[in-house]
């Protein structure tokens, strides 16, 4: 490749996608290099701000949490105004990518339901996902043999947790159904004309109810919104979905739309494993890609940016840097880069100090680190009050 880009982004996960989008929006040319897919399609597609406090109690108002308690946290020095502008930007970006959300940013966390029937806080979610301000009655849609969405048990957990009723409506097996179908198989099917017609007939035959109709996340991959709209008219109440474990259709929708948008903005996606980086290049087996800046968005342990060795040492796979040693599981969250500027620009989960499993702040950390790195590569370091050190 002869033509150098402005920024080389290594990694194709949420942080890599966001950094690339920010550069592209400013008219920059991006080369994304990845030897895998990134983790976005593993998740349901909700972006958390702050779901739990340090005692694992749910946070109702994440804005207030960051304002009052965030000083123990890498993102604690970020002003409410800054958070607002980042979330607003993400929401607007999604809008241009045809990822639908509510017009206004949420002022509070809302509650969503997990496939275990449990309630979980949610912040920025696409409109197809079921959320509610207060737990109310729901009607769950059972899908034959879909083991990740066992509605009877979910309904029992839901009622046991919230005291609210959860009714059930069952779909039949569609004529195209095959044993072993997961949620994604259903979604591909419901993207077809035949599938959509069949589902419409099914919902039409449902006994009426007064609560929102809650599906597992199977309502198509590419044509979800129109299907939900049609079903909503038919049911007369809200229709929404609950994300399932992988293969997660919600995250897949985001990934497809996001990457489609980036492709149309001229982002080159280079397939391959980076062996070495310098200030303005990334070297792969047999080729070298040049760019103005290099951003590492290779992920944490799950994404593969960091690797754990047999002796417990945690190392950046590409840079070969040792970042610490794990002894107990809790250590995993606290090991990673301490700065998003050194030794290179780092965005996403390779940075230490954030534990989304415990705190539900994965979305916020992705925003914080991606914007911080973007500021650095676009020469606006001053925008963040401290210089990227945790």
């Amino acid at each position: 490749m002869s033509r150098a880009s402005d920024v080389i982004v290594i990694g194709r996960g949420p942080a890599g996608l966001l950094v690339s989008s920010l550069v592209v929006e400013q008219g920059g040319q991006v080369d994304m290099i990845a030897d895998g897919l990134g983790t976005l399609p593993l998740w349901g597609g909700q972006f958390d701000f702050r779901s739990y406090d340090n005692d694992r109690k749910p946070v109702a108002d994440p804005w207030a949490w960051w304002h009052r308690f965030g000083d123990t946290h890498p993102g604690g020095s970020v002003s409410a105004q800054m958070w607002r502008s980042w979330w607003q930007h993400l929401r607007d970006l999604w809008f241009t990518m045809e990822i639908p959300t509510e017009k206004l940013l949420p002022t509070k966390n809302r509650g969503t339901v997990t496939p275990l029937g449990r309630i979980k806080p949610a912040f920025l979610v696409p409109t197809w996902q079921f959320t509610q301000e207060y737990a109310g009655a729901i009607t769950l849609v059972g899908v034959p043999d879909l083991v990740d969405f066992p509605v009877e048990a979910m309904a029992r957990v839901y009622t046991w947790t919230t005291g609210m009723t959860a009714e059930i409506r069952w779909l039949e097996r569609s004529p195209s159904w095959r044993p072993g179908w997961n949620g994604l198989n259903w979604a591909w099917y419901l993207d077809t004309e035949e599938g959509r017609r069949w589902l419409w007939e099914q919902v039409k035959s449902f006994r009426r109810g007064s609560a929102p109709l809650v599906f597992p996340q199977i309502l198509g991959v590419d044509h979800t919104e129109s299907l939900i709209e049609v079903l909503g008219e038919l049911w007369g109440r809200g229709v929404a979905e609950i994300p399932l474990p992988p293969p997660s259709v919600g995250g897949l929708r985001l990934q497809r739309r996001w990457e489609r948008w980036l492709r149309r903005k001229g982002v080159r996606l280079v397939q391959g494993r980076v062996k070495e980086i310098g200030g303005d290049f990334a070297a792969l087996e047999g080729r070298r890609i040049h760019g103005g800046h290099v951003v590492l968005a290779t992920g944490g342990v799950l994404g593969g940016g960091l690797e754990v060795l047999i002796d417990g040492q945690v190392r950046d796979r590409l840079m070969g840097l040792s970042l610490g040693v794990v002894k107990e599981p809790e250590d995993l969250a606290s090991i990673g880069y301490r700065s998003w500027l050194e030794p290179t620009r780092v965005a996403g989960s390779a940075l230490a100090g954030c534990d989304p499993n415990r705190h539900g702040d994965g979305g916020a950390m992705m925003l914080l680190t991606s914007h911080a790195v973007f500021s650095a590569v676009s020469g606006q370091e001053g925008r963040l009050e401290h210089a990227g050190r945790f």
Binding site: R56, K120, D148, W160, P245, I310, K327
Partner: protein, 489 residues
């Protein structure tokens, strides 16, 4: 009636032996079947090759039992065969002693060219020099335990799980019953004799017999790899040492083991250091072992027994077993203990113990366990239904065969949540299924226990891709499913 304390290999083996002599039996197990040592071993069905130099008696017994078990418990045994491989740093003298020892007990050993072995076992270390084939096999512990259970119950034997013996009732120094505690509270069960087959807990149980026995507990740590990397058992041809056996167990391979004296009869979590140590040893046989996908590490506690001796290194304690009649010592009459031994010889141990108990009860019938094959369950023609565990291909229909089982029992019977993802993708499915018979709070608590049980063995081996598997499991559990989050408030 005889009460057997302990639902492991020796306890269930004994119950089966007694029942075949028409002696009524009840087994009392404090956890689940096989939750102690019997469920925590490498799965090797010894040919005896391992002991031909160090412990000829044990070697002879192993070879004999090896052939008996293939006959009577074929459903739980895979006659894979095995190799003993000598590595550079082992002297020729030992190899010669070993070959002589094998000949002495009539073990069919054949030298095979290393090049030929390499054709079926990839990436054998370059320093492997000689190889000898032996009739080793694989003993699937849980399969055999559940098989014994089935046969015991078919003959009217009763097995109580999650039941603890708290005291022994006796009259005139003679056993007349036991006091037990289960989830419904305490109760007394009358009996004519009681046998302590409590494995590492035998020392504690013996105290209830008013007679202490000095157990020498030894902890062994093993590593499980995700795939069946070897088609047969691989032993290092050397005096028994650490990390010198690899056993192909189902779709996995197990590397064993270490041998460290310990006090606590409970099996504790393996440490990262132990796992690392085993990896170093295993790499003497397979240089690329650090790239094998590891799954977990686990420890078992060997209930070794050597009366009245100060022990420094447990490797030198006999693997032989001992039958103790406490009435002949200073303890209660009608109380017995079965200690020591190893999985391969469980049947022989049970036979000797049952001989003693039968003599006490004045029953003249002798053991039939070497002749009567264990019956396998009649395969019910069930609709398999959707798959619950994809790694181990466990269907809804399979789990539904045991409707009231706990998640743990489902796991050890069906192998659900035991594959490469360690329940990441199926743990919650199992818990939600269990909710058909359990309350939400019980099912969620069992799910949490399942996660902790899996993580215990998983964490010490979180390196490489297994660390990524761990991270995926944690994210799904805490974020996607919110298993342990706020809803209880």
């Amino acid at each position: 009636m005889v009460i057997v304390i302990g639902g492991g290999a020796s306890g269930l083996g004994l119950a089966w032996d007694l029942l075949l002599r028409s002696i009524p039996v009840m087994v009392v197990e404090m956890g689940d079947i096989g939750s102690g040592t019997s469920g925590r071993f490498h799965g090797l069905l010894h040919s005896g090759g391992r002991y031909v130099v160090s412990d000829v008696q044990a070697a002879r017994e192993c070879w004999e039992e090896n052939r008996i078990l293939k006959r009577v418990a074929g459903a739980a045994i895979k006659a894979t065969g095995g190799y003993f491989l000598s590595v550079d740093d082992e002297g020729d003298a030992y190899v010669q002693d070993w070959v002589k020892g094998a000949e002495a007990i009539g073990l069919p050993v054949k030298e095979v060219a290393v090049g030929q072995i390499r054709e079926t076992v990839e990436n054998l270390g370059p320093w492997v020099r000689r190889g000898f084939s032996v009739p080793d096999g694989v003993l699937e512990g849980f399969t055999l335990l559940h098989l014994l259970r089935l046969n015991i119950e078919n003959l009217g034997g009763e097995i109580l799980t999650h039941t603890t013996v708290t005291d022994i009732r006796h009259e005139n120094g003679r056993v007349v019953g036991v006091e037990v505690m289960d989830k419904d509270g305490p109760r007394v069960i009358a009996c004519d004799a009681v046998v302590n087959a409590a494995g590492p807990y035998a020392g504690e149980v013996a105290r209830l017999f008013h007679d202490g026995i000095a157990m020498q507990l030894s902890r062994g740590t093993m590593l499980i790899f995700a795939n069946r990397r070897v088609p047969y058992v691989i032993n290092r041809l050397a005096p028994p040492g650490d990390g010198d056996i690899i056993v192909p167990h189902g779709e996995t391979a197990i590397l064993g083991t270490t041998d460290v004296l310990q006090e606590d009869p409970g099996s504790t979590r393996a440490t990262r250091e132990e796992a690392q140590y085993l990896m170093q040893l295993g790499q003497r046989l397979f240089a690329d072992m650090d790239r094998w996908r590891v799954l977990r590490a686990f420890t078992g506690v060997r209930p070794l027994y050597q009366d009245g001796q100060e022990i420094r290194d447990s490797r030198y304690i006999s693997r032989d077993f001992t039958v103790i009649d406490h009435g002949q010592r200073r303890g209660l009459v009608g109380a017995f203990s079965l200690v020591g031994g190893k999985w391969t010889t469980y049947r022989l141990m049970a036979e000797h113990m049952a001989d003693a108990v039968a003599a006490y009860l004045k029953v003249k019938r002798s053991s039939r366990t070497a002749e009567v094959p264990l019956q396998t369950a009649v395969e019910m023609d069930l609709r398999p239904g959707p798959t619950i565990c994809e790694c181990e291909r466990v269907s809804l229909g399979q789990l539904a065969r045991w409707p009231c089982a706990s998640l743990t029992e489902w796991r050890t019977r069906s192998w659900f949540a035991m594959g490469p993802c360690q329940g990441t993708m199926c743990g919650h499915r199992g818990a939600l299924l269990a909710m058909a018979v359990q309350t939400p709070s019980t099912a969620l608590r069992e799910l949490s226990q399942l996660r902790h049980e899996r993580e215990r063995g998983w964490w010490p081996t979180t390196w490489g891709d297994n660390a990524r598997q761990w991270a995926l499991g944690q994210a799904l559990r805490h974020q996607t499913l919110a298993e342990e989050a706020w809803s209880d408030e």
